[in-house]
Amino acid sequence: MAIVINGSGTVTGLSVGGLPDGTVDAGTLATNSVDSAELIDGAVDDSHMASISGRKNLVINGDMVINQRGGTATINGTGVTYNVDRWLGRGVSSAGVFTLVQSASSCPDFRKALAATVTTADSSIASGSSYRIQHFIEAQNMMHLNWGNSNAKSITLSFWVLSTGPTGTFGGSIANGNYDRFNPFSYSISAANTYEKKTITISGDTSGTWATDNTLGMRVNFSLGAGSSKVGTAGTWTSSSYEGVTGQTNFIATNGAALYITGVQVEQGSTATNFEHRSYGEELALCQRYYQVHKEVYWGHAHVGTGNRIYHSFPVEMRAAPTAADTTTASQNTASNYTENTYTMGWNSYVRGNANNVHARWYADVTFTADL
């Protein structure tokens, strides 16, 4: 077909791929040759802009780089146990046990991963039991998805995963903060000891209650094992507390097996775009909204009758007034010292002397927790 440029400036006759790679490059397009007059509204739609738009990933620390707590977490109970920042494990008391730890990664573009290793297998999971890795998204960070009404938008979950043991179909779910809206998903691992990228699109929930404040908005669950009452059909919103998918392989049943996850991204729309890499400093600041590590220092005069207080500011406003846990590393001439009051913007330490007009000092390591 001939290429025709008619009198109105319209070009016809170009087949798909008719302009080979390199035909239009920086040398071809003169300065300002494509400006706002050429790019009319809608000329490039959202699906083609997503890969270059900012702040698309609703997951914080999806590449598992920030690890303020350090060490290995043992998950042997139903409570929340955080390990790598923003990532936590939940399990079942003693029946099955797994650990979480930051690990080096051989995954392309990701040098760190979260490793879940089974240390006590549970091959006969009770009906209502569930083992999972979770990530919690603050409600006001996802309220633009309009979940809970007719304008609800789809999301796409993408991640890299490696299993050292079982392969097959695995599961997880998306759930709300109230724990009464669930949508299971499934993915397959086809080969052991190989990183595979998985992409799952989940329709927006037009029902249920989805918070819009600083509380828990969305739970992202990666199931390591679930009983019969905790699994359901993939791709369907329900009020049943499903944390996995029917027929899934229960990773927790294989002692010594390890599951590595990294590059986790949740984004608006039905297209999985490239992972949004953020700088270490940016990601750390995002994590510090929920957890911070500091050193308290008091050095000055103190008395017996009245405690001295020093106010400290957080580098990042925390989600809520945090819980403080301090460990004294050194002290002198103090009768009492502790982290006293916490606020979203800071905290005060408290020091009381063991005599009047003494020179007191107190050093402490302190953590602040405002996790969801």
Partner: protein, 57 residues
Amino acid sequence: MVITNAKYHNADSDTNTGIFATIDGVKCNVPLDENNTHYKEILKQVADGDITIAEAD
């Protein structure tokens, strides 16, 4: 979450400002903030009759 030794503190005044408690073996100071997950859990365990909170000194 295992919570023991829960006790209010009041910063040398008559108004309670937080709770000292041991949470999963770690000594903590929990603010009276309803969005704090530890405070919510303490209130739940008090309501369930599992723990009590001692008055401040």
